[in-house]
C-alpha cells in the first residue's frame, strides 16, 4: 500500500501517457477476470481454512487436526514423496531423451518431438485407463506372464502402479520444458571445452550440463507442482498407501462438505507449490520459465555454487572412471547406439500405452481381454447410442469451444498489451497471468466451487467455461506471447501512418501476422478444457456432465470396453486438433 502511494505521481503520469500510447489497459479484462475467478476464490479458500465453522472466529484448529491426525499426516507425506519421486524420475529419464532430441537435425527433431507431443496432449484419463488395462490383475502384462506359465505380479493399486502412471504423465512435460534450453545451447562450447583439454565427461558435466541446468530446474519445478495436485493417477492406479492430498480434498468436499478443512489441506499444497517456486526463483529467476533469459543461468552464488561445482566435478570423475571400462567392454559401436536405443525405448514407453487401448475398443468381448477374442464395432455402437455419452461429448465440445474463444481473446489482448509496455508493472502482470499454471488445479477448483455455490453457477455450462478459462489462460498467454515477441511493431506504425486507426491496424495487420500464436492458443485452450476433470468434478453435476467427468465416474465404478471406445474417440479428436494446429500454423508468413 505505502509503496503504491509513494509512487502515485509517477504512476499517474504514466497512466495518462498510456491512455494515448501504451495500451496496457488491454490487459485489464484478463486482470479483472483472474482477480475475480482466480485470486479471490483462492484467497477466500485460504481464509476459510483459518475460520471456525460455526462462529467464523479465527482458529488454527484445522491445521492442528491435519498434523495431529495420523492418517492425514501420512497423506501429506505420501503426497510430497510421490510428487518428489515423480519429478526426480521424470528428470532422470527425460534428460537423455531431451539431449538426444536436441542434437537431432531440425527436420527429424520435429518428427521425434511429435512422439513426445502426442502423449503430452493425450487425456490423463485415457492414459490412466490404458495403464489399468496394462497393469491390472488380468491386464496385458499379467496375461503375457501367465501365458508363459509365470504367476501374476501385483502391478496395480500399489506404489509401482502410481509411479508408472505418474512418470508416464509427467515425462513429456519434463522433456518439452528442458528441450528449448538445450536446443539453444551452443554445442560449440562443449567442443571448445574439449579443445581446451577437457575430457568428454568433464566437457559434458562442467559445460553442457551446467548450462542446461535452468531447463532442468524449470522441468523439475513444473513436474513437481503438477504432481502435487494429482488425483486421477493415485485414485485409479494406487492403493490406500498412495492416497494423495487432492483425493483427500475431494472427499472432504464431496462427502463431508467440510470447506474449512479442505481449505487447510489446500493451503498445505499451495504453500508447498509456492515455496518450490520461491526456491526456483532465488536460484534461476522465474522469468526463465517463460523462456526469457535471466542473467543467473547456471545457478546461484557463493556456497551453493561452489558446492554445485564440486558435485559436478565428482560426477565428471565418476563417469570418466565408469565410462572407460564400460566403453571398452561394449565397444565403440554399441556405445554410439546407446543413446538412440535408449531414446527409442522411452518413446515406446510414452506412446505404447495409448495404442494398447485401440484393439480393446474393437473387442467383441464384454471384458477387457487382451488380445481381444474377436473384433467388431459393438462398443462404439454403445457409445453412440448412449444419450449420456453423446450429450457429455457435445457439452465438452461446446464448453471447450467457448473456453478457447474466451481464453484466446483475453490472453491475446493481454499479450499484445504487455509486449509493447515498458511499465514497471509488466513483470508482475506477466507473473499473474502465469499463476494459474503454478497454483495446483485442485486449489483453484475448490475455490471456484465455493464461489460458484454462492452465485449459482454450479452445474452450469457457464461455470465450467469460466473455470476452464482460468486454467487455460496461462497456456494461451504463453503461446501468444511467444509469437508476439517476434512481431515487428514497425508494421503497425506503418499502418497508422498510412491512415489505419487502432482497430483497423489490429484487424488488418497485427492479427493476421500473429495468427500462428492465436491458433496455437486456441487449440491449447480447447484441449485443456476438453480434457479437464478437476473443475468438472465439482462444477459439472448430475445430467450436466462432461466427457472426462463421465469417464471418471465409469472408471471408478466399473471398467468396461465402452471406455476404450470413448478413449479412442477422445484420442482421435485431440490428434485431429493437433494436426490441424500444425497445418494452420505453418503458412504464417
Amino acid at each position: 500500500m505505502s509503496a503504491a502511494a509513494l509512487n502515485h505521481d509517477g504512476a499517474f503520469a504514466a497512466a495518462r501517457r498510456r491512455l494515448r500510447f501504451g495500451p496496457l489497459w488491454l490487459a485489464a479484462p484478463g486482470l479483472a477476470f483472474l482477480a475475480i475467478f482466480f485470486l479471490f476464490p483462492v484467497l477466500r479458500l485460504l481464509g476459510l481454512s483459518v475460520q471456525d465453522l460455526e462462529t467464523s472466529a479465527w482458529t488454527g484448529d484445522h491445521y492442528a487436526r491435519i498434523v495431529a491426525t495420523d492418517v492425514y499426516f501420512r497423506v501429506l507425506m505420501s503426497t510430497f514423496r510421490i510428487a518428489g519421486l515423480t519429478a526426480l524420475l521424470s528428470l532422470l529419464f527425460g534428460y537423455p531423451l531431451a539431449y538426444w532430441l536436441a542434437q537431432l537435425p531440425e527436420r527429424q527433431r520435429g518428427l521425434a518431438i511429435l512422439a513426445v507431443m502426442v502423449p503430452f496432449w493425450t487425456s490423463y484419463l485415457v492414459k490412466t485407463f490404458a495403464w489399468m488395462v496394462i497393469l491390472g490383475r488380468t491386464g496385458v502384462i499379467n496375461q503375457i506372464l501367465s501365458g508363459t506359465g509365470m504367476s501374476p505380479l501385483p502391478l496395480l493399486h500399489n506404489e509401482f502402479g502410481v509411479m508408472a502412471g505418474m512418470v508416464h504423465a509427467m515425462l513429456p512435460l519434463a522433456v518439452l520444458t528442458m528441450l528449448p534450453v538445450m536446443t539453444t545451447l551452443d554445442r560449440r562450447l562443449v567442443q571448445a571445452a574439449e579443445t581446451l583439454g577437457a575430457p568428454p565427461a568433464n566437457a559434458f558435466w562442467l559445460v553442457y550440463f551446467q548450462l542446461s541446468l535452468p531447463g532442468v530446474a524449470a522441468a523439475g519445478l513444473l513436474t513437481f507442482i503438477s504432481s502435487l495436485g494429482f488425483f486421477i493417477v493415485p485414485a485409479l492406479l494406487g492403493g490406500p498407501q498412495q492416497t494423495m492430498l487432492a483425493q483427500l480434498i475431494i472427499s472432504q468436499i464431496q462427502e463431508m462438505l467440510n470447506w474449512a478443512f479442505a481449505g487447510a489441506l489446500a493451503t498445505f499444497m499451495l504453500v508447498a507449490a509456492l515455496v518450490t517456486c520461491w526456491v526456483y526463483d532465488r536460484l534461476f529467476g522465474l522469468s526463465s520459465l517463460s523462456g526469457e533469459t535471466s542473467g543467473r543461468a547456471g545457478g546461484g552464488q557463493g556456497h551453493l555454487r561452489s558446492a554445485g561445482m564440486t558435485i559436478l566435478s565428482a560426477l565428471a570423475k565418476a563417469s570418466t572412471a565408469l565410462g572407460g571400462p564400460v566403453g571398452r567392454l561394449l565397444g565403440p559401436k554399441v556405445m554410439d547406439r546407446l543413446l538412440p536405443v535408449y531414446s527409442a525405448a522411452v518413446i515406446v514407453f510414452l506412446v505404447a500405452p495409448a495404442l494398447v487401448v485401440v484393439p480393446i475398443a474393437f473387442t467383441t468381448s464384454p471384458f477387457l481381454d487382451f488380445p481381444p477374442p474377436g473384433y467388431g464395432l459393438e462398443w462404439f455402437r454403445v457409445y453412440f447410442n448412449s444419450d449420456l455419452w453423446v450429450s457429455a461429448t457435445i457439452r465438452s465440445f461446446a464448453v471447450a469451444f467457448a473456453t478457447a474463444i474466451l481464453a484466446t481473446l483475453v490472453a491475446g489482448l493481454a499479450a499484445l498489451a504487455l509486449a509493447r509496455s515498458s511499465s514497471r508493472w509488466r513483470g508482475a502482470i506477466f507473473a499473474f497471468f502465469l499463476a494459474p499454471m503454478i497454483v495446483p488445479r485442485i486449489v483453484i477448483a475448490v475455490g471456484l466451487f465455493y464461489l460458484f455455490a454462492q452465485i449459482g453457477l454450479v452445474a452450469t455450462d457457464l461455470g465450467l467455461i469460466i473455470g476452464h478459462t482460468v486454467l487455460a489462460l496461462p497456456f494461451a498467454f504463453v503461446a501468444i506471447s511467444a509469437v508476439v515477441k517476434g512481431h515487428d511493431w514497425r508494421l503497425d506504425q506503418a499502418a497508422a501512418t498510412l491512415g489505419a486507426n487502432r482497430v483497423k491496424t489490429l484487424m488488418l495487420v497485427t492479427v493476421p501476422l500473429i495468427r500462428g500464436g492465436l491458433v496455437a492458443a486456441f487449440l491449447f485452450a480447447f484441449i485443456t478444457s476438453f480434457d479437464e476433470l478437476t473443475v468438472a468434478i465439482f462444477v459439472s453435476g448430475g445430467v450436466k456432465t462432461t466427457l472426462p467427468k463421465q469417464m471418471w465416474d465409469d472408471m471408478i465404478l466399473q471398467l468396461n470396453p465402452t471406455l476404450a471406445a470413448v478413449s479412442v474417440v477422445v484420442f482421435a479428436i485431440v490428434m485431429a486438433l493437433l494436426l490441424m494446429a500444425e497445418w494452420l500454423r505453418r503458412p504464417a508468413r
Binding site: Q493, A494, A495, A496, G499, V509, R589
Partner: protein, 367 residues
C-alpha cells in the same frame, strides 16, 4: 509531362516569401527521462522543398521525424502543417507519409494490396483504387510485380513498393527515414535518382533523413545538419560546404583541413591565425573573435603553387580515386593535410618535401 499525381498540387518553392510554410516545427522537444533526444527546435519547410536531416547517429533525426508524423509524443512545442496545429492529431489522421528504413511492407499482403492499403483506409471506391494502384506501380516501374508478396522481391524492388505506397495517397508531407540505408552503393545511387524524379513529378514536400553526406549534398534543396540533439546548421548544400559555421559542420560535410589557433591583427590590420604550424593570413572579412578553427578544403590547396599561406611537409601517401587524386602531406607528428591534385599534374613522389599554399580568402574561420 507531370504525372497525374502531381496535378492536384502546384508546388512552387517560395524563396523567402512570407507565405505560410508547409511545415512549421516550433520549439519542438523530446526528453526520455534524463536523456534529451531533441532540444527545443524550430524548423520551417516551404511547400515542395526537399530537405535533408543529416547528422551522426543519435543526433535526434529519427526522433524529430517521428514527432512530425505523430509516432512519438513531443515533450513540448508545436507542429503546424499549412498553418494548422497538428501536435495532438493522432497518427492516422495526419496528412503525412512515412517511408521506413526497412520498408515495413506488410508481409501478408501482395504488392498491390500493400499499395492499396492507404487508399482502402481512406474509403476510396474499388475501381478508383485499382486504377490509382496501377498508376503508382507504373510510376515506380513495378507494374509486372503487382501480385507478388514482399518477400519475393529484391531489396530495391521492396524499396520502390514502399515509395509507391507512400506516394499513392498524395500526402502533403513525405518523411523518409534512411530509406536507402539497407541497399548497396550502386542501387542506392539509382534510387536517389528515382526519389528525386518522384519529387519532381509530384511536387511533394519531402523531409529526408540520412547519415550519408554525399547523398545529402546530391539530393537536397536544403540540408539541416544535426548534432547533439540540435540543429547545427541549416542551409543549401553549397552554403554548408562553402561556409560551415562550426568545425563540426566543416568536418562532417566533405573533407576538411583544420588548423586551430589564436586570432591576431598584424600591423596593417590584416587578421592572422597563430597556430602550431605557423601564422596564416585570414580573409579580410573574418569576423572578430579571439580564437577559432581555420577550415581549408583540399581543392583550395596547391602544391608548390601560389598563395598567401604556406605549410611544408613530407608526402606520405597519394590516393587515386578515379576522378581525382589526393595527396596526404605530413606536417610532422600526427598531423596530416589532404590536398587535391590539380588536373594534369604529376603526383609528387613519396617522401618528397613539398610546400602547400592557399589564398587567404579560401579559408573559413569557424568557432
Amino acid at each position: 509531362m507531370l504525372s497525374p499525381l502531381a496535378q492536384a498540387r502546384t508546388a512552387p518553392v517560395q524563396a523567402g516569401a512570407a507565405a505560410t510554410p508547409k511545415l512549421l516545427v516550433d520549439g519542438l522537444t523530446k526528453r526520455y527521462g534524463a536523456i534529451t533526444a531533441l532540444e527545443p527546435t524550430r524548423l520551417e519547410v516551404p511547400a515542395g522543398e526537399f530537405l535533408t536531416l543529416l547528422g551522426p547517429s543519435g543526433s535526434g533525426k529519427t526522433t524529430l521525424l517521428q514527432m512530425i508524423c505523430g509516432l512519438v509524443e513531443p515533450s513540448g512545442g508545436r507542429i503546424l502543417i499549412d498553418g494548422q496545429d497538428e501536435t495532438r492529431t493522432p497518427v492516422h489522421k495526419r496528412d503525412i507519409g512515412l517511408v521506413f528504413q526497412h520498408y515495413a511492407l506488410f508481409p501478408h499482403l501482395t504488392v498491390a494490396e500493400n499499395i492499396g492499403f492507404p487508399l482502402r483506409m481512406r474509403g476510396v471506391a474499388p475501381a478508383d483504387l485499382a486504377r490509382r494502384v496501377k498508376e503508382a506501380l507504373e510510376m515506380v516501374h513495378l507494374g509486372h510485380l503487382a501480385g507478388r508478396f514482399p518477400k519475393e522481391l529484391s531489396g530495391g524492388q521492396q524499396q520502390r513498393v514502399a515509395l509507391a505506397r507512400c506516394f499513392v495517397y498524395q500526402p502533403s508531407v513525405i518523411l523518409m527515414d534512411e530509406p536507402l540505408g539497407a541497399l548497396d552503393k550502386k542501387l542506392r545511387e539509382h534510387m536517389q535518382y528515382e526519389i528525386k524524379r518522384l519529387h519532381r513529378e509530384t511536387g511533394a514536400t519531402i523531409i529526408y533523413v540520412t547519415h550519408d553526406q554525399e547523398e545529402a549534398l546530391a539530393m537536397s534543396d536544403r540540408i539541416c545538419l544535426m548534432n547533439h540533439a540540435r540543429i547545427e546548421q541549416l542551409g543549401t548544400p553549397h552554403d554548408i560546404y562553402a561556409r560551415p559555421k562550426t568545425a563540426f559542420a566543416a568536418d562532417f560535410i566533405g573533407v576538411s583541413n583544420i588548423f586551430r589557433g589564436q586570432v591576431r591583427r598584424d600591423g596593417s590590420g590584416t587578421p592572422m591565425l597563430v597556430t602550431g604550424n605557423g601564422s596564416f593570413r585570414l580573409s579580410a572579412d573574418t569576423p572578430d573573435r579571439p580564437d577559432g578553427t581555420l577550415v581549408v578544403r583540399p581543392e583550395q590547396l596547391d602544391i608548390d603553387g601560389d598563395g598567401d599561406n604556406e605549410v611544408r611537409g613530407e608526402v606520405v601517401d597519394t590516393v587515386y580515386a578515379g576522378s581525382e587524386t589526393r595527396v596526404l602531406v605530413s606536417l610532422g607528428g600526427e598531423e596530416t593535410i589532404t590536398v587535391r591534385l590539380r588536373r594534369g599534374t604529376a603526383p609528387p613522389r613519396l617522401g618528397e618535401v613539398v610546400a602547400v599554399r592557399w589564398r587567404a580568402d579560401a579559408g573559413v574561420l569557424v568557432s
